[in-house]
């Protein structure tokens, strides 16, 4: 049980951070026409930030873009496969079978980072503990954002539209300061994204595919010209 408690404690700061990010997700979802329970259901079943925001853009265009949704989610969330691989190396003897199928759901950037840092052998109880509060925070924050989105004045809502993008900037800039390769990869991706958006003909490419194209080209260039050293993981 102590492992479970330790997991719960490690999950508290993650859950608090998730409330604020998912609040903006709920806000955005409602502003794009989804209902509060649809927004909450997406958060409860997906538990991911970038993928959900990209998914919203596709949903806002109505039904039919199934393949685009699949490809977008695949590329944006592909990084999780690397994390779950790394995590599987540190799993203890109890974390196997059904426990892996259940706790695998909760592998996010933050849960991965904290669990890798804070424990030597990762047990199933620790995983259940660290996942619980972030899931509640992520879903609850979405609900609050969706409700706030239906009652706040429109000038406040439109001003809050920048919240998620400013959070993305807050995620990107600190590592880009320390690692010039990250900075260059981000610049390439941003430049490509602007080119696709503003060039005639190319601007017919939908936002989901545009993100995929920019990501793959920028990350491949990064992998070719700035391969990581072995300790970076």
């Amino acid at each position: 049980m102590t492992n479970f408690i330790k997991g719960l404690k490690d999950g508290i700061p993650i859950a608090l951070g998730y409330v604020s990010v998912s609040f903006t997700f709920g806000l955005q979802a409602v502003s794009l026409g989804l209902s509060w329970w649809e927004a909450a259901l997406i958060s409860l079943t997906n538990l991911t930030s970038a993928g959900q925001f990209a998914g919203l853009d596709i949903m806002a265009r109505g039904g039919g873009f199934w393949i685009e949704m699949l490809c977008t989610q695949f590329i944006i969330n592909l990084r999780y496969s690397l994390m779950s691989l790394s995590l599987s190396q540190k799993a203890d003897q109890n974390l196997k079978g059904i426990h892996r199928w259940l706790t695998g759901f909760g592998i996010t950037d933050e849960i991965f980072a904290v669990s890798m840092k804070n424990t030597d052998d990762i047990s199933s109880k620790y995983m259940y503990g660290i996942i619980l509060l972030p899931v509640l925070g992520w879903t609850g924050g979405t609900l609050m954002g969706a409700i706030a989105g239906s009652i706040l004045p429109s000038v406040v809502i439109s001003s809050l539209g920048i919240a998620i993008y400013s959070m993305f900037i807050a995620i990107i800039i600190p590592p880009a300061k320390k690692d010039s390769a990250v900075f260059k990869v981000v610049l390439i991706s941003v430049a490509l994204s602007c080119i696709l958006k503003f060039t005639p003909l190319l601007n017919n490419i939908s936002s989901g595919f545009s993100i995929i194209i920019c990501t793959i080209i920028a990350a491949v260039i990064g992998a070719i010209f700035f391969p990581i050293k072995e300790e970076k993981e």
């Binding site: 604020s20 691989l85 706790t103």
Partner: protein
């Protein structure tokens, strides 16, 4: 969007996201050794966030001027390594102030 379309999208999103997470967790026992693949995956999150943020941030507040104001504030605070929440709040406040000024003068 009709309910049926929503649930198809939800199923695709949740299903693919879950499988990406859980399949390597339950199957692979060895580490990825390819330096190219590991480097690629290392850069993916940053490239995704860059492409999602630009140029979309400019359209996020309904007004280019307030968006640029929020963007500048976000960059300054992020460069000083403030927390996500701090960066977001001040960027929103900057955008809100400009939007209110526009309403007041128009």
């Amino acid at each position: 969007m009709i309910a049926k379309d929503f649930f198809i999208y939800l199923f695709i999103m949740a299903g693919i996201t879950y499988l990406i997470r859980v399949l390597p967790f339950v199957t692979f026992k060895k580490k990825i050794t390819s330096r190219f693949v590991r480097s690629f995956l290392y850069y993916v999150p940053y490239a995704v966030l860059g492409a999602m943020t630009f140029p979309e941030i400019l359209y996020s507040t309904g007004n280019y001027v307030s968006a640029v104001a929020g963007l500048i504030v976000a960059c300054i605070l992020a460069f000083r390594e403030k927390s996500l929440l701090t960066v977001a709040i001040f960027a929103c406040v900057a955008a809100l102030v400009i939007n209110l000024i526009y309403i007041a003068i128009s």
